[in-house]
Amino acid sequence: MNYSEKRSNEKIVAPLSRRKFLGYAGAATGLVVALAACSKDDTVPMNAGVDLLSGDFGILNYAYALEQLEAAFYIKVISAPYAGITADETARLTEIRDHEIAHREFFKNALGAKAIVALEVDFSTITFTSRDSVLATAKAFEDLGVSAYNGAGKLITNPDYLVLAGKIVSVEARHAAYIRDLISNGSFADSTVIGANGLDKSRTPPEVLAIAGTYIKTKINASNLPTS
């Protein structure tokens, strides 16, 4: 192909990005799923709850759900800080809050019409006035987030989405290490989370949602997520 041909080709197809192709493909898939659902007995919904959808959109919604949970938690932490919080802790936890909000909103926009609804959280087991309770929960959420992204990586089929998950998971790992060090300096990567080969944990979506479910009131249907 010579240069002028290449230029004209670019002009013709410029508005058709891969993202849009995927959008169309996804929309078509969604339609098929909806039609299939209609053909079944639609008076008895199987797996009632917010459907995370399938394929890459399913994984993005799964991440969106976790980021919603984390953001809601840190928003509450900062709105009424625990007793004895230091200036440095306030600064860092506020930053973490903003990172989680950024992640949440990013997924919301990336998913567009495919995005799940805002989830209702349940933080009744957390004592927000207690440093120990807040940091223990933060540690659990951050370690869980790291293991969730690590486990979801192999389920993603679009390399762009895999890279984006990678950009986020290392920030979650930085958070996890910071929170762990606040609880006990030097525990940033201790043997409770890092295995004998020096590897972090990874968890499957069902494993993660079983743990996160304690804090999420909205019922989630993850049955359409990819499993391999």
Partner: protein
């Protein structure tokens, strides 16, 4: 039938398909162009010839994986020897107590990563030999800018931070090539997040000794004097992800700093090799 789904299907069978086709964009453009010019019935034939061209003389998937794992092994050799050398200096370099304990934890992980990667490489081919390192950053001259790295504790921590942050970026930069890489991809991701935990802690150690850095990367700020590590942090000031602007996204008060911190950026193979080469004796 949605012809664009063909790419997704082929990608399932061959994660490298886009590499073979120059780039995704080029593949899509090429295909869209074909579709526009040819009669519908001729499209599958044209598509076939496009892929035939792409696969001619290309490397096999296992060779690519082997190459990525050896790339990772080289970085882990570098980190492992860096920390074992530092620990061998004892309290002349690293204060006893928490600091020595933390560096020991990190050192053990890097050594474990070396062993693990060697094991993962064995069925695929030959593991690269450990290079001779020059931790002064002098490309083997021994007189690079980090000459005193094993006698000057603040400099040691600065180089440690740079190596950890760069390690995180290096793994991220190759992730796309391992898409749908199964358990191998999971293992690489499980190493990647450990490097990020290390980076976070080293940054906290530097913060405790008075350097103005956070556990996460703010813009291209490294807390290291100008002229030394700019290539390691280039691009970390990005605030757009997949064309979505993160600053004040959806009217949320997300500052530029927070937007850059919230996403770690990757480095390409060439960018990483240019950095690492300075630490290797040719």
């Amino acid at each position: 039938m949605n012809f664009y789904n063909i790419f997704g299907e082929i990608e399932k069978a061959d994660p490298e398909v886009y590499d073979r086709l120059d780039t995704r964009r080029a593949a899509m453009k090429g295909f869209a162009n074909l579709g526009g010019k040819l009669a519908l019935a001729a499209v599958p034939i044209a598509l076939g010839s496009m892929f035939k061209k792409a696969y001619a003389g290309s490397k096999s998937t296992s060779e690519t994986v082997l190459q990525i794992l050896n790339y990772a092994l080289t970085l882990e050799y570098l980190e492992a020897e860096f920390y074992t050398t530092a620990l061998s200096k004892g309290i002349l370099l690293i204060p006893a107590g928490a600091a020595t304990a933390a560096i020991t934890t990190i050192s053990n992980h890097e050594t474990q990563h070396v062993s693990y990667l060697k094991t993962a490489i064995a069925p695929l081919g030959t593991a690269v030999a450990k290079p001779t390192f020059d931790f002064s950053g002098g490309s083997g001259s021994g007189t690079g800018p980090f000459l005193t790295v094993f006698t000057d504790y603040p400099l040691f921590l600065a180089v440690a931070q740079t190596l950890e942050d760069t390690g995180v970026r290096a793994y991220k930069g190759r992730a796309a090539e391992l898409v749908k890489g199964g358990d191998l991809l999971t293992a690489v991701l499980n190493i990647h997040s450990v490097e990020a935990r290390h980076a976070s802690h080293i940054r906290q150690m530097r913060k405790a000794s008075g350097v103005d850095v956070k556990p996460w990367i703010t813009g291209i700020i490294s807390g290291i004097p100008a002229g030394l590590v700019e290539p390691n942090y280039i691009g970390e000031d990005n605030t757009k992800q997949a064309t979505i602007e993160i600053v004040n996204i959806n009217s949320m008060a997300i500052s530029t700093n927070a937007a850059t911190e919230a996403f770690d950026e990757g480095l390409t193979k060439d960018q990483v090799l240019a950095i690492v080469t300075k630490f290797i004796k040719p």
